[in-house]
Structures are given as C-alpha cells and as structure tokens.
C-alpha cells in the first residue's frame, strides 16, 4: 500500500505576513528589505531565514514572512522607510488573510501533484523555488522547507477546503510507487 510514501499534513499556526508591492529594482528596495533581514529574491525564488521567508510573487510583489509577534512593528518601520525614501510602494499587514499548511514526507511531492498543475518532479521544482498556482479550485502558493517538505499557503476562508484536499490526496499513493 505504498507505506514508504507516507505523507504528513499539518495545519500551521499563523505567522506574520507582509505584502510589499513596488519597483523591486528601485534604489530604496534593498534597504527596505533589510528591515526584515532579507535581500531581493530572484524570479520565482524564495529566501528563507530563521524567522520566515521572502517569497517572490511577481515582478512588483513580494510576500515577507516573519514571526507573528514582530509583524506590527515591521510594517510600521517599512511604511515609514517608504515615506522617508519617498518610495512609491504598498506595504500591508496580511497576516490574517491566509492559512498555512506543512506537507511532509516521502509522498509530499505526490500529494501536491494530485492537486496542482505543476511539475513537482525533482527536476521541475526544488528547494529555493516558490510557485503560485491553484490547488484544485482555489489559489495557493508553496515552497519547499526541506528535501521532503513543503509549506503551502491559501486564503483563510478556504482553509477547511484546502485542508480537506491535502488530507484526501495524502491518504494513499497506491499505484504510484514507480514515480
């Protein structure tokens, strides 16, 4: 029954999430990112730190993760840094807008392969990448936090649906041993 493809799905506690929109190539951008200890991630890349991760979302959009307790201050600092630099940018606390899940184990790639139209082979996706896509019928983003583990975020209102999808897909990988 493909026991060796066991997959664990865990709903994670909320963390701090900050949305940054702006010209990421601008002069002020490195300083702004350094407030949270990040540099600019490359296209479709994630930079991970102890406290969280900086996710590339689009050419003018990043999502910055941090500990839940430090988000309020980080937003204030970033907003005032923008004002000082007269930067045209949007910084918003979106910590409450999304739910987080960890998918881990030897069957983690397979689990997401059942729900997302993304090449999740080792050749197609690996640590350091982030992908915004859909999971079944709703939007999501995921990245790898280890060789066999993913973190996935989705909108808060559909967290029960997404959790159901993940648990359902993780249940049995029978017949997929060869992948």
């Amino acid at each position: 029954m493909a026991e060796h493809l066991h997959t664990e799905v865990t709903a994670l506690e909320p963390c701090g999430m900050i949305l940054l929109r702006g010209d990421l190539e601008a002069e002020w951008a490195p300083d702004l990112l350094s407030i949270m200890g990040y540099s600019l991630p490359e296209q479709r890349q994630v930079i991970q730190s102890e406290a969280g991760a900086a996710l590339w979302f689009s050419p003018d959009e990043l999502m910055l993760l941090c500990e839940a307790g430090s988000v309020a201050e980080a937003v204030v600092q970033m907003q005032s840094a923008c004002r000082e630099a007269q930067a045209h940018a949007l910084v918003a606390d979106i910590s409450d807008a999304r739910a987080r899940f960890a998918i881990s184990g030897p069957g983690a790639r397979l689990t997401l392969s059942k729900l997302c139209p993304v090449d999740l082979s080792e050749a197609g996706f690996g640590p350091g990448h982030v992908r915004r896509t859909r999971i079944a019928q709703v939007a999501c983003a995921f990245w790898m936090t280890g060789p066999e583990s993913f973190e996935l975020i989705c909108f808060r209102s559909v967290s029960e649906y997404v959790e159901g999808l993940l648990r359902n897909a993780a249940r049995s990988h029978m017949g997929l041993e060869m992948l």
Binding site: Q43, R44, F57, S58, P59, R131, R132, T133
Partner: protein, 106 residues
C-alpha cells in the same frame, strides 16, 4: 488545453491557471471620441481564422496580464509579451511573418 508562457514570472502556465481577456491592443475611446470610434471600441472584435493577438491574465499565478499571438486554427503560439505596449513587438511580427508567409498585421 493551451499552455502559455507568462512573460512576467516565466511559468509555462496551463490554461487552468489563466483567465482569457479577449482581443489585444484595443484602443480606448473616451467621451471625446466619435460615435463610430466608440462603436468600434465597444462592440467590434476581430475573429480571424489564423493569427490573432489576445489578452490573458495569469490569474492563479503572478496575477499579471500579458498578451499572446496565436493561430486560432493550429493553436500555434508565436509568442507572449508584456501588456505594456500598444503594438505587437517587431520581433514577434517578424517571427509570425516567417511562420506565415503572406500574413500582414492589420
């Protein structure tokens, strides 16, 4: 089911990640425009058998709108390009001409 490369995030996105947006390079007509120009803008759309320029949004991905040149019969995609442009790029026009001798942009 189509697959189009989003020029913003580089993902070869399948159609289920995308939202269609109709014909590309429409010129907006404001209230100063003539009734004929307004009619053209609001209601008249090209529906060519062959090369067509169209708008797509990477709705489930980076959220960006982009433009694509596609053959509506063979489904060949000649290229995708960012939406911040009022005419198809010359390089793309050259590509299409090479692939479809005799084709001329409208």
């Amino acid at each position: 089911m189509l697959i189009l490369t989003c020029p913003y995030c580089g993902v070869r996105a399948e159609e289920t990640e995308l939202a269609p947006g109709g014909e590309a390079h429409l010129k907006r007509v404001d209230p100063e425009g003539s009734p004929e120009a307004l009619e053209e803008y609001l209601f008249h759309r090209a529906n060519p058998k062959g090369v067509h320029f169209e708008r797509w949004r990477h709705a489930y991905g980076c959220g960006k709108w982009f433009l694509a040149a596609r053959d509506t019969v063979s489904m060949e995609v000649f290229g995708t390009y960012p939406a911040q442009i009022s005419e198809p790029p010359q390089e793309l026009i050259d590509t299409i001409r090479a692939r479809r001798p005799g084709w001329e942009p409208v």
